[in-house]
C-alpha cells in the first residue's frame, strides 16, 4: 500500500474498529508484573532494579508528602518509555505523537500540582511568582512574566513531547524516502543517506527515552515547588 508521510500519525482503525485504546494500553502489557516468587527471572530482576533506581532518583529531592506521587509518576514514565520505544518500529502508531493525548496527560497532572500548592500553602505557592533578589522596579513586570510562564507549563509539557516524537518520526520517514529514491540513481549518496538514517535512529531511541524522563522530571519539579 502506498503510504503518505502522515499515515503513521493517523489514529489506527481496522475495518471500522478504532484501535486507539489498544494502542495506548498494549505497550504497558509488555512490562511484566512482579510475580510472587522470591527469586524471579532476569527480566523481572532488571525491571525491578530499574524501577527502584529511577523512582529513588526521581523522588529523592521531594519531601515526604510528595512521595505519595511516586506511583503515578513512575508508572507514567514506564508507559511513556514503552510507547515511545515501540513507536520506533515500522508500521506502528505512536499515541504520544498526538497532541490530544499528551495534553490529556500533562494538563491534569500540572493542574493537580498547582491546586495542591494553592490549597495547602497558598502564600508559598504564590511566592514562587517572584524570584528572590529582583530589583523593586521590575517586580510588576516579573510577576506578569512568571504568571505567564506558570500558565504555559502544561502547554509546554504536552507540546514538547508531541513535537519531539512527531519530528523524529517524520525525519526518519523523509530520510528513508530519500534513501529509497536515490538508490537507483546515485547509490553512493544513497549509502550516505542510509548512514545518516542509522545515526538518526540511534538519536531517536535516545530521544524517546529522554523525553519520557523529562516529562516526568518536570512534573516532579512542579510538584517540588508546590507540595
Amino acid at each position: 500500500m502506498n503510504l503518505s508521510f502522515f499515515d503513521q500519525f493517523m489514529s489506527p482503525c481496522f475495518m471500522g474498529i478504532p484501535l486507539t485504546l489498544l494502542s495506548m494500553l498494549l505497550p504497558t502489557l509488555l512490562i511484566p508484573a512482579p510475580n510472587n516468587r522470591w527469586v524471579s527471572n532476569r527480566l523481572s530482576a532488571i525491571q525491578l532494579w530499574f524501577l527502584n533506581t529511577t523512582t529513588k532518583q526521581l523522588m529523592s529531592p521531594l519531601n515526604k508528602k510528595a512521595h505519595k506521587w511516586a506511583l503515578i509518576l513512575t508508572s507514567l514514565m514506564m508507559m511513556l518509555l514503552a510507547i515511545n520505544l515501540l513507536g520506533l518500529l515500522p508500521y506502528t502508531f505512536t499515541p504520544t505523537t498526538q497532541l490530544s493525548m499528551n495534553m490529556a496527560l500533562a494538563f491534569p497532572l500540572w493542574l493537580a500540582t498547582l491546586l495542591t500548592g494553592l490549597r495547602n500553602q497558598p502564600s508559598i505557592s504564590l511566592g514562587h511568582l517572584l524570584p528572590e533578589g529582583t530589583p523593586t522596579l521590575l517586580i510588576p513586570a516579573l510577576i506578569l512574566i512568571e504568571t505567564t510562564s506558570l500558565l504555559i507549563r502544561p502547554l509546554a509539557l504536552g507540546v514538547r513531547l508531541t513535537a519531539n516524537l512527531t519530528a523524529g518520526h517524520l525525519l526518519i520517514q523523509l530520510i528513508s524516502t530519500a534513501t529509497m529514491a536515490l538508490l537507483p540513481i546515485m547509490p553512493v549518496v544513497s549509502a550516505l543517506t542510509a548512514t545518516i538514517l542509522f545515526l538518526l535512529t540511534i538519536l531517536e531511541i535516545a530521544v524517546a527515552m529522554i523525553q519520557a524522563y523529562v516529562f516526568v522530571l518536570l512534573l516532579s519539579l512542579y510538584l517540588q515547588e508546590n507540595i
Partner: protein, 251 residues
C-alpha cells in the same frame, strides 16, 4: 426473625446440604487469600523456551522435521517471503528502509550487550540469594561458636574441683601462717614480761648490793677516828719513804 429463632438458626443452617457441589472448589474460596491448590505444585522452568533467530520457537522446527527435514522451515520462510514480495502483498516503501535501520540497531545492541545485561540480572539475583544465605550462615556460625564455648565452660567446670583444692590449701596455709605468727607474738610478749620480772629482780638485788656497799663504806668512813687517821697517815709516809729508797735504788 424473632429472637428465640436466632440461636437455633446456625444449627438449622448446618444441617442443610452445602449450597455448591463438591467439585466447584475454585469459586468457593475467597479471592487471593489462600492457595489455589493444596497439592504441591511442579517447579517452574528456570529458562525460557529455546528460540531460533530470536523469533521462531525451536518446537516449530521440530514439528516440521519429520516431514520436511532440516531445510523445511527455511524453504517455507523463503517461499513465504518471496511470495509476499513478488505479489506486492508487502510493498517495499520508505518504511522498509526505516525497518532495516531500526532492526539492525536492535540486533546489534542485543548481540553486543545481551550477555552483559544477562550477567547483570543474574548478579542481582545472586546478591539477593547470597545476602539471605549469609544471614543463615552467620546464624549457624554464631550458634556453633556458642556450642564450643559451652563445651569449654563444661570443661572448666570439671576442673573446678582442682581449683577449689588449691584454694583450700592456700587458705589452710594462710591460716597456719597466721597462727604461727600469733604464736610467736604471744611468745615474745610472754618473754618480754618475764624478762621484765628478771630485770626487776636483778635491779633490786643490784640496788640492795649498792646500798649495802654504800652503807658499809659510810659506816667505815664514819668509824675512822681522828687518831686512827693520824696513825694511818704516818704509816703511809713511812711506807712511802721506804719505797722511795728502794725506787731510787732501782733507777
Amino acid at each position: 426473625l424473632s429472637a428465640p429463632l436466632l440461636p437455633s438458626a446456625p444449627a438449622a443452617l448446618r444441617s442443610l446440604p452445602p449450597p455448591v457441589a463438591a467439585g466447584v472448589l475454585h469459586t468457593t474460596r475467597q479471592l487471593h487469600t489462600t492457595q489455589q491448590c493444596l497439592a504441591p505444585l511442579p517447579p517452574l522452568p528456570e529458562k525460557g523456551g529455546e528460540v531460533r533467530y530470536g523469533l521462531i520457537p525451536e518446537e516449530f522446527f521440530q514439528f516440521l522435521y519429520p516431514k520436511t527435514g532440516v531445510t523445511g522451515p527455511y524453504m517455507l520462510g523463503t517461499g513465504l517471503l518471496l511470495y509476499l514480495l513478488s505479489k506486492e502483498i508487502y510493498v517495499v516503501n520508505h518504511e522498509t528502509v526505516a525497518a532495516v535501520c531500526i532492526l539492525s540497531v536492535i540486533i546489534y545492541g542485543v548481540k553486543k550487550y545481551g550477555s552483559a545485561v544477562a550477567a547483570f540480572a543474574d548478579k542481582l539475583n545472586e546478591e539477593k540469594v547470597a545476602t539471605a544465605l549469609a544471614v543463615k550462615n552467620e546464624a549457624i556460625k554464631s550458634l556453633e561458636t556458642a556450642i564450643e564455648e559451652e563445651k569449654k565452660e563444661q570443661w572448666r567446670v570439671e576442673g573446678c574441683s582442682y581449683l577449689f583444692d588449691a584454694k583450700r590449701n592456700n587458705v589452710a596455709m594462710l591460716l597456719e601462717t597466721n597462727y604461727r605468727e600469733r604464736l610467736l607474738t604471744v611468745y615474745n610478749e610472754v618473754k618480754k614480761r618475764l624478762d621484765y620480772q628478771v630485770a626487776m629482780q636483778n635491779l633490786k638485788r643490784q640496788k640492795e648490793q649498792d646500798h649495802m656497799i654504800q652503807w658499809v663504806e659510810k659506816s667505815v668512813v664514819q668509824s675512822i677516828t681522828p687518831q686512827q687517821q693520824k696513825e694511818s697517815i704516818a704509816k703511809c709516809i713511812l711506807d712511802l719513804k721506804a719505797l722511795s729508797k728502794s725506787a731510787q735504788a732501782a733507777v
